[in-house]
């Protein structure tokens, strides 16, 4: 058993069932957490705010939904403090679909995470889209049985989150904009840094780890395998099938679509198209076919026009 990632720390969920009818079943291990994300690969995870939207997402072929009270574009427009969704909202969405349901907790807000785990969500997104609860510390994700996904802008940030126990990584992008440019920047940064690490001599890795601000053991692992030790999705600004396929061709494992689907004029059709675009991301004939007749994409807002204090990607470290 890998004690760096596993173990009962949260008081409520023992990692090993030692006796009784479930003897020997070990829950919440890193392999079980990261394996769950592996089952989502090549798929699309969609933000939804109602049971009806969750059904539309499932019927379109989404591999999971993210249960939210407001999509990022509305959080951006309406302002105020953005918190974990109302538990009734999360439960309503969990009851509506058979696919996995994720939910967001504020950065550092480990009690919101405890609540979401108690509700039974399948994955928690410790997300910069919500108002951070802690400016210095992220959640100790090893203390939970439920797995976590976290956002990143570069490899150092990705490895810091994995070091804290994240079992899945996504780019931050700039949520709620419908502008793909920041997701592209972050994916290129992560994947480019991985390629650079893989080219270094072993005696150069400690200095690289220092420069990245990343745990040395994880830097060694990435240098040896040429990839992150967890699944890596794109998020933040995906609005069209072509955006989704662009991220896949850059080398991510799957795509989150936040505001893009339900801020478009024909959500069911766009959702269906984005799923096909991710499966056939390298087949331009399919991409051309699914991109036709989609109506109006979300209007969006250029990420570069957003003043620095309003940029969600700056939250967390």
């Amino acid at each position: 058993m890998d004690m760096t990632h596993d173990g009962p720390h949260d008081g409520g969920t023992a990692a090993v069932n030692g006796a009784g009818e479930h003897a020997g079943r070990e829950t919440g291990t890193f392999r079980v957490k990261a394996g769950m994300a592996a089952m989502l690969k090549g798929g699309v995870i969609m933000d939804v705010t109602t049971a009806e939207q969750a059904k539309i997402a499932e019927d379109a072929g989404a591999v999971a939904v993210m249960a939210l009270e407001r999509v990022p574009a509305d959080i951006r427009a309406q302002g105020g403090v953005a918190r974990m969704a109302d538990p009734d909202k999360v439960l309503e969405i969990m009851a509506a679909v058979t696919i996995p349901v994720m939910a967001k907790a504020r950065i550092g807000h480990f009690v919101e995470a405890q609540v979401l785990q108690a509700l039974g969500v399948d994955y928690i997104d410790e997300s910069e889209v919500l108002t951070p609860a802690d400016e210095a510390h992220h959640i100790d994700k090893t203390a939970f049985t439920v797995p976590f996904v976290c956002g990143c802008r570069d490899l150092g940030e990705a490895l810091r989150r994995i070091g804290e126990g994240a079992a899945m990584i996504r780019t931050k992008g700039e949520a709620g904009t419908g502008d793909i440019v920041e997701a592209v920047r972050h994916a290129r940064a992560v994947l480019g840094d991985i390629r650079r690490l893989a080219s270094l001599r072993p005696d150069e890795l400690p200095a690289a780890a220092k420069a990245l601000g990343a745990p040395l053991a994880l830097v060694h692992d990435v240098a040896a395998t040429g990839r992150l030790p967890v699944v890596n999705f794109a998020a933040g600004g995906v609005a069209t099938p072509a955006d989704a396929a662009l991220m896949m061709q850059l080398g991510v494992d799957g795509v989150f679509v936040g505001s893009g689907i339900f801020k478009s004029s024909d959500p069911a059709r766009l959702a269906h198209a984005v799923v096909r675009a991710v499966t056939h991301f390298d087949d331009p004939a399919v991409l051309a076919d699914v991109s036709r007749g989609l109506g109006e994409a979300m209007r969006g807002r250029a990420a570069a026009a957003i003043p620095a204090p309003e940029r969600l990607a700056e939250r967390g470290w």
Binding site: T27, G28, G35, A38, G42, E58, Q117, G120, T279, H280
Partner: protein, 195 residues
């Protein structure tokens, strides 16, 4: 060298392809009916069975997959793949079928109940297999032609074989132990074929 396909519509395709490569077998990703041509065996990986089923319908793969299963070449479904091979998944969703079993999707509950455990699998030498169950199904009804290869201690059936079709509720592809992959590859060899 054998050509083994991995259905690559969605899911942990790369994990299966990697395990097959470590067994010395070239994996072919299958996304179109034409990709099935010339394959000696096929793996249906883990993933979301509703997503994979819908994509198989959209891209005309359901009948070609049924034909492949009917051809008698070895086919192995893991988790979502087992659901797709089942006769009945207790839920209205597209299935390939071929395996005379009824499965209960998410038989063990949500992700917080996902687990790993040591599992004795019939036909696997060398002790128990470290099996990873992720929002896993279980076989709740198996027809007379189905051999049960593994049960959890408290009863649920989690590995079955019917002729050249292998079904596992767990993910043999998520670890370094290649014994189930080797068992599957051996199913194509005449000298170690079905009893």
């Amino acid at each position: 060298m054998k050509r083994v396909g991995v259905l690559a519509l969605q899911g942990d395709v790369a994990e299966h392809a990697g395990a097959l490569a470590r067994c010395g077998v070239a994996a072919v990703r299958v996304r179109r009916p034409a990709d099935l041509a010339g394959l000696d065996a096929l793996v249906l990986p883990g993933g979301e069975s509703t997503t994979i089923g819908q994509l198989a319908v959209d891209y005309g793969l359901v009948q070609p997959l049924r034909d492949f299963v009917a051809s008698g070449k070895p086919v192995w479904g893991t988790c979502a793949g087992l659901i797709l091979l089942a006769r009945d998944a207790g839920h209205a969703q597209p299935l390939v079928g071929g395996l005379d079993v009824r499965v209960d999707r998410n038989a063990f509950g949500r992700q917080v109940a996902s687990f790993e455990t040591d599992l004795d699998v019939a036909g696997l030498a060398g002790g128990p297999f470290r099996a990873v169950f992720i929002r896993a199904p279980a076989v709740v009804e198996a027809g007379p032609g189905v051999d049960v290869l593994a049960r959890l201690d408290d009863g649920p059936i989690v590995a079955v074989r019917q002729g050249a079709i292998l079904g596992t509720a767990f993910h043999a592809e998520l670890g370094d132990d290649l014994r189930v992959h080797r068992l599957f590859l051996g199913m194509g060899e005449p000298n170690v074929d079905a009893p």
